[in-house]
Symmetry: C2
Subunit: 157 residues, 2 copies
């Protein structure tokens, strides 16, 4: 039940993108630097996110990444599904060759699984990337007005 680093890195990268990619494309190097993530690993994550349309990229010098859609159209669920695979805590196959589950309608635990699954899905799908970006912007202001002038700050561990 723990998010993988994939998912955490991905979320942080997308928040970072939201904060920095309004005017210019942002390179993996700069994200990885700010967020303290391995470049090559992040590269792979970005590839997935791109495939899913959550980010877009331009190649070559001065290239980099931007969000693929406005932040309020990307839910945390969207991101997690790309990076974690299905969010279903349990998949009920309906039929098992060994007879341990005798057909869909007879599968008892299915009810549990569904309840858990639905709850998680509802939660992450209602939370939008834009909210996180906004939250992040606020925090940064607080830091600056508190006299701490250090440039950028990570999003989380």
């Amino acid at each position: 039940m723990k998010l993988s680093t994939r998912a955490r890195y991905g979320l942080r990268a997308l928040i970072d993108l939201g904060l920095h990619s309004e005017n210019e494309a942002v390179s993996i190097q700069s994200i990885a630097g700010r967020q303290n993530i391995s470049e090559s690993y992040l590269e792979q994550l970005m590839a997935k996110l791109k495939k899913a349309g959550l980010v877009e990229s331009t190649r070559g010098a001065q290239g980099g990444y931007r969000l693929g859609k406005p932040g309020d159209q990307i839910s945390v669920g969207d991101i997690l599904r790309v990076l974690e695979g299905s969010l279903e805590a349990v998949e009920c196959p309906g039929i098992a060759s060994d007879g341990s589950c005798s057909g869909e309608s007879l599968c008892v635990a299915k009810h549990v699984w569904k309840r858990i699954n639905d709850s998680i899905t509802a939660s992450v799908d209602s939370l939008m990337l834009s909210e996180l970006i906004e939250e992040s912007r606020k925090k940064q202001k607080e830091i600056i007005s508190a006299g701490n002038q250090t440039a950028d700050i990570g999003v989380s561990k």
Copy 2:
């Protein structure tokens, strides 16, 4: 975000216990048989569940397991926490030596993590084992009244 087989097996075993341990203690062998789970593996899971007080056991011949408390006092969350470890999807350490997270109040993503964590927790803690047992009983009746006389039936895959 997927439940481990540990958690699935454990849930099924506890539902099974609820169904069969009213009069007599139930052996691992019989649970494993009905649920189609490896005996030694299940043994380890039961050890954890026992340590947590969710089941109790009697050793020796005719021994076996019983629920440690009434089913309506055991939440699915309790079970998952024992078998999956923490249900926190993400832990925010507050401080990171590398500086990627500058103190608790500045940790931006914490908000996300908390929201996801809370949602999952609320969901699994509100679902009680007794509900699943009851559900399971119903299904079994359906099966029997449908003319299918095969003895016990698994709980899910």
